[in-house]
């Protein structure tokens, strides 16, 4: 911008030294300088002038060189040691290096990921979509009898195939999935929020308690599901504590089985939520709370008016991820119940994902594919809905 200014500053010390020397030389009659000293001052001045001159010409050369490149870049960095290396402001391009060369290098670095993704992510995505429309698909021989909408009709209980209707998706899988989502997601978010606000205000033992609350994250879903099955056993500790005589797991009614399942899902989803909320809380400016304290704002109002709005990005993130997680609930049911049957029917604990895997095992891959696409659409719909609803309520 103001190059001349920088130039002056750069040689200021040297130039002032010359000035001082000149002053001394001018007043040589009055002062007691001998010839040797005068000679030394003159030599020094000569020397300094030389340095300034050389530097100025060098700078000029460099400036010209940089100017010649300025058509291409805004800011140019030139290596002092090696003028072959010139970089633009982003430091990403070597001018001598061809752009295209770097381009193919980048694709080389991406190649392993792109190949694996093409084979195990993009292709299956498209393939599953097509399979969901195939009639009587045989995955071993890869044969099918044309395309049809019947797979969707069948799993939704609308179309009759082989003299039977499929009722398990409409009766069990979709309602169960939605119930699990709408119970466990809000409950676990509220509990996690309260725990993290509590944890955040602790002075002592905060780290230890935080670690304890994180423990359920470090567990095997199947193993702890089996533990919950023992806890909720008819002769188990829950019935004993509350003086109940009820079946929760084996031979339980459908809705009775749903309760321990939801408790287990909430329990296992708490740690991630608490961790995310806590890191969000620690990022909130303390000034908001100090202002509230001066105004003597009641604590519940501090929570609803300050903490929750400022935490809204994290809450949205957690809501979306846990809704997706809720839609994919499967392992926890396998861990706790081992099979989807309750006293109210052999498949009454089906979720959509459970249905998908069971149909795969029956070699009815086209039904599995149709159910998977349905699940995908459900997730897409709910995610879009949450984004739309939260648009006005989330403060970034």
């Amino acid at each position: 911008m103001d190059n001349s200014n920088i130039e002056v500053n750069k040689f200021e010390k040297l130039e002032s030294k010359i000035l001082i020397n000149n002053q001394k030389l001018e007043s040589k009659e009055t002062s007691s300088l001998n010839d040797k000293q005068i000679k030394a001052l003159e030599v020094e001045n000569e020397y300094l002038k030389n340095i300034i001159e050389t530097n100025k010409t060098l700078d000029k050369e460099k400036e010209e060189y940089v100017d010649s490149l300025k058509d291409d870049f805004n800011v140019v960095v030139v290596s002092r040691r090696n003028k072959d290396y010139v970089y633009n402001y982003n430091g990403l391009k070597n001018v001598k290096d061809d752009d295209a060369k770097n381009n193919w290098k980048a694709w080389l670095y991406l190649a392993p990921v792109l190949v694996l993704m093409a084979v195990f992510l993009i292709y299956p995505l498209i393939d599953t979509f097509f399979i969901s429309f195939m009639k009587d698909y045989n995955y071993v021989l890869r044969t099918y009898n044309g395309f049809t909408l019947d797979n969707y009709g069948f799993i939704l209980g609308l179309t009759e195939i082989n003299g039977g209707y499929e009722h398990r998706v409409i009766d069990y899988a979709i309602p169960n999935t939605l119930i699990i989502c709408f119970i466990t997601v809000p409950v676990s978010i509220i509990i996690a929020l309260l725990i993290s606000v509590g944890l955040n205000s602790l002075k002592w033992f905060q780290k230890i308690l935080q670690t304890i609350f994180f423990l359920p994250y470090v567990t095997n879903t199947i193993a702890v599901g089996m533990v919950f099955a023992v806890i909720f056993d008819r002769n188990g500790v829950i019935n004993w504590i509350f003086g109940l005589d009820k079946d929760w797991i084996k031979g339980a009614a459908r809705w009775d089985a749903m309760l321990p399942l939801c408790i287990y899902i909430v329990w296992s989803s708490l740690p991630f939520k608490i961790l995310v909320f806590l890191s969000g809380l620690q990022g909130i400016d303390k000034q908001y709370y100090q202002a509230a304290q001066i105004d003597a704002t009641p604590k519940y109002k501090v929570l609803t008016r300050i903490t929750v709005p400022l935490l809204s990005p994290q809450i949205l993130y957690i809501m979306i991820t846990s809704f997706i997680g809720g839609f994919k609930e499967y392992s926890s049911i396998v861990g706790m119940f081992n099979n989807p049957g309750t006293a109210d029917g052999d498949y009454s604990l089906y979720t959509v994902v459970y249905y998908v895997y069971d149909r795969m095992k029956d070699n009815k891959v086209h039904y599995a594919a149709a159910a998977a696409v349905l699940l995908f659409l459900l997730i897409l719909l709910f995610t879009a809905l949450q984004f739309a609803v939260s648009k006005r309520r989330v403060h970034y």
């Binding site: 070597n94 095997n220 004993w240």
Partner: protein
């Protein structure tokens, strides 16, 4: 003056320690040893002095802190209760587990449960399978992640940002969409099926999980924080991109790489669905599948919870050890997911 600036209910008065009003007294401030030491300034709000209000506020604060600790500790106990119950049940005899009165500590400690489980439950096979699959899928993931994150963070190429957005968008797609077709793919590779051997089963459990978009995102963020000057300096010294990646970026990003390694390892240890589909022989199974498919029942089909819980303890303990040693890395890696929103 004072009356204007403070609350109308407030009164300023001089009192001695017996609360006797000293308003009318003459106090000689200049004379040392006079009444001055007996006098204190008391500000009243209503009937109570501010001092006593402050005191009660302090008591309330202490009480609410205690209450908060009690609630938090109580909730923490609920959270750890399943682990506690798992351990004590694994040490109880079957009669004690089924008894009408539950005990919170085993009356007779049954170490025999563990011996029995190690005899019947093929723990070593499952463990070896799990560790082999975990090591190789972690290695593969690390390599692909490092390369991709480097390309996204440092190199320039056409369509970089849009490609990255596509990568992020794939995170939204439920895995179930891919599982069906992936199963067919690995079957056509001969990795699943009647004539598939252990190596094939390993490949089927390892290769499809060599890519993780989330880890690429995590590492890219970390790579981007490494100052540009380092890259320029290494360029000026004539180092290639390859050298810069391995000599500078990877060492600097090692905490994130450790997080990725441990999370990936834990993921393999906990994976159930995919191994359950592709490992069709019991000797191919991973630990979760082995655990769920082993039946711990007596002759009449009643579950033997003591054995079952001993097995779950064996499955859970390695994870806990990992957590104890790498707590920082695990919590950082998991927590990073939420910071950016």
């Amino acid at each position: 003056m004072l009356e204007n600036s403070v609350n109308q209910n407030m009164k300023v008065s001089f009192q001695n320690e017996d609360n006797k009003d000293l308003a009318g007294l003459y106090i000689n401030f200049a004379k040392p040893g006079s009444l001055i030491s007996d006098v204190s300034l008391t500000i009243k709000e209503g009937r109570r002095s501010v001092k006593s209000l402050q005191r009660s506020e302090k008591i309330m604060k202490i009480l609410s802190t205690i209450l908060l600790y009690v609630i938090i500790v109580f909730l923490a106990l609920i959270v750890v209760f399943p682990f506690y119950w798992m351990i004590i049940t694994s040490l109880k005899s079957n009669d004690e587990i089924r008894a009408s009165t539950q005990t919170f500590f085993p009356t007779v400690v049954m170490w025999e449960n563990y011996i029995e489980v190690f005899r019947t439950f093929d723990f070593t096979t499952y463990m070896v399978n799990t560790i082999v699959v975990a090591i190789f899928s972690t290695l593969g993931t690390l390599i692909t992640t490092i390369f991709a994150a480097f390309a996204f963070a440092r190199l320039n190429f056409a369509g970089k940002n849009s490609l990255f957005m596509v990568f992020l968008a794939t995170m939204m797609i439920p895995g179930e969409m891919m599982v069906i077709s992936n199963y067919i793919t690995v079957a056509s590779f001969g990795w699943v099926g009647l004539d598939a051997d252990l190596m094939d089963a390993y490949l089927a459990m390892i290769v499809p999980f060599w890519v993780s978009v989330f880890y690429i995102y995590l590492l890219r963020e970390n790579f981007r924080q490494i100052p540009n000057e380092l890259y320029l300096a290494s360029k000026v010294d004539g180092k290639s991109d390859w050298n810069f990646l391995w000599k500078v970026m990877v060492p600097l990003a090692s905490p994130t790489l450790i997080s990725i390694t441990i999370l990936k390892f834990m993921g393999t240890w906990n994976s159930y669905v995919w191994p359950n589909l592709v490992a069709n022989k019991s000797e191919f199974r991973l630990i979760s599948n082995g655990l769920r498919s082993s039946s711990f029942t007596d002759i009449e089909g009643n579950p033997l919870y003591g054995y079952q819980m001993a097995a779950t303890v064996i499955v859970t303990v390695p994870l806990f050890l990992l957590f104890v040693f790498f707590r920082k890395y695990i919590m950082k890696g998991v927590g990073r997911a939420g910071i950016k929103g």
